[in-house]
Amino acid sequence: MINLAPHISVKNLNVYIGDAHILKNISIDIPDKKVTSFIGPSGCGKTTLLKTFNRLLDRQNDVRIEGQVLVDGEDLYGKDTEVTHIRKKMGLLSQRPFPLPMSIYDNIAYGPRIHGIKNKKKLNELVEHHLRSTALWDEVKDRLHSPATRLSIGQQQRLCLARGLAVEPEIILGDEPTSALDPVSTQRIEELFLQLKDKYTLVLVTHILRQARRVSDYIAFIYMGEIIEFGLTEELLLNPKEQLTKDYIKGFIS
């Protein structure tokens, strides 16, 4: 169906938490340098699926993961796979922004620093560059050393994006990244996503159909832990093949 080179390739993924079968036999190829959205009613497993991509799901007790997730051909759940280097490949935006408990500057510099960049000048450049690319620079350039928490929620979310970009990821994962934001901030994040897809592969979880339509190239519809349908945005939204997808789009399932 989709013939582009996949960046993330999920093969027969099953996730159990305790006795509950949360994700059921998921197989999907997420194309490189496109925006792919996961839509579906709440509780269907979108967050869980996203967390299997950067192995944050492992942090939970009682989780059993079967199957494969290949990133650039490397199996995330392979025996010798090193977790930190995989996580570094993926930026994460969560439902609500969580700045690190430090200044604006240090939030951006945190990633580069832990990965060995010590040079002050280089760090300054990086901070400025990433604040500019998330359209924050003009808003914060005079208070780089004040706590990140003093920013508005919308600015914090862009800061979190900038912080993620500073470790030079290839993939950006967003779990309903605009759900805590006002309409203007939401729009800015969406604009950023559209700019970023030239350079990054974006995977976005959303329950807002209009948002999925505005930003994504591909949409996967998930229902009760299964991928029901996956396709080009317009095709899936305007011409769904499965009855469940039709019902969801019409608002019968929510």
Partner: protein, 281 residues
């Protein structure tokens, strides 16, 4: 009046009454200590060790007990932190969310928290007898450390545990190792760690039962870890048990000194915890 209004008035009254009782008793305690202690207080109390005949009302002070208490409290707080921070990090970073071993560990610390200090004192004494040690500063520090570790662990765990899971997710997703993530969580918890330290300081400096058999008592200021060490609670205890009125009065002066030390520590802790909370999420 309708029922809701009566309820409202009743509970409001109850809350006022409770608050007044608590604040009132606090002031009563302070007033007793200050009024009785101030009278007996003089600079010799804090600048001299007991002279010959101190315990029958002659000159000298309790500098030995002040210094001893500070040594034991600071020593055990530091040792306690070094031991309990890794425990808290283990519970919150290294163990998985919902881990049963972590729950069991937390339960164990809850139980330890409830054990009276005299039991720690007796335990410390047993260990000392087993190793053939005499009462010493070191034995006092170790026993008090045992007493305050559950306090430190519980108080810090309480703080680190409520940090949203997403904050550590954020650190991990930037490629941070567990240790780097732990440091982020610690940074977020500094105010809480200071509060935990304060709690344990208060408990350690005021506890008599732990040091009674382990640190012993002496009129000298210890110069090594192996010498016996006087402490303020025991200084108060010994003087208050005296039949001589002057000596009894000095007990209140000693209590006043203890109270002032605790007060200074509380205020300092408040100041530092405020200073470090500006970056908190």
């Amino acid at each position: 009046m309708n029922k809701r209004k009566i309820e409202e008035t009743f509970f409001k009254g109850l809350m006022h009454a409770a608050t007044i009782v608590i604040v009132g008793s606090l002031f009563l305690i302070l007033w007793t200590v200050v009024s009785k202690g101030f009278h007996a207080f003089n600079w010799d109390m804090v600048s001299k060790v007991p002279e010959g005949g101190f315990y029958i009302g002659k000159g000298g002070g309790i500098l030995n007990a002040i210094i001893g208490s500070v040594y034991i409290t600071v020593g055990s707080a530091l040792l306690g932190l070094v031991i309990s921070i890794p425990v808290v990090l283990y519970l919150n970073v290294y163990s998985k969310k919902g881990s049963r071993f972590a729950s069991a560990t937390r339960l164990a610390f809850d139980v330890l928290f409830g054990i009276p200090s005299i039991v720690y004192g007796a335990f410390g004494f047993t260990i000392m007898v087993f190793f053939g040690l005499k009462t010493s500063l070191l034995a006092g520090i170790i026993t008090v450390t045992l007493l305050i570790i559950p306090i430190l662990v519980r108080a810090m765990d309480e703080v680190v545990r409520v940090i949203p899971f997403e904050l550590s997710d954020a650190a991990y997703s930037l490629g941070a190792t567990r240790w780097e993530t732990a440091k982020v969580l610690l940074r977020q918890s500094v105010p809480g760690i200071i509060t935990a330290l304060l709690l344990s300081f208060g408990r350690a400096i005021g506890d008599a039962a732990c040091v009674l058999f382990t640190a012993g008592y002496t009129d000298n200021i210890p110069t090594s870890l192996h010498q016996p060490t006087a402490t303020l609670p025991l200084a108060i205890f010994f003087q208050l048990s005296s039949p001589i009125p002057e000596v009894q009065e000095r007990a209140y002066a000693a209590a006043l000194i203890l109270t002032v030390i605790v007060l200074i520590i509380s205020i300092a802790a408040k100041y530092f915890s405020k200073k470090f909370s500006k970056n908190k999420i």
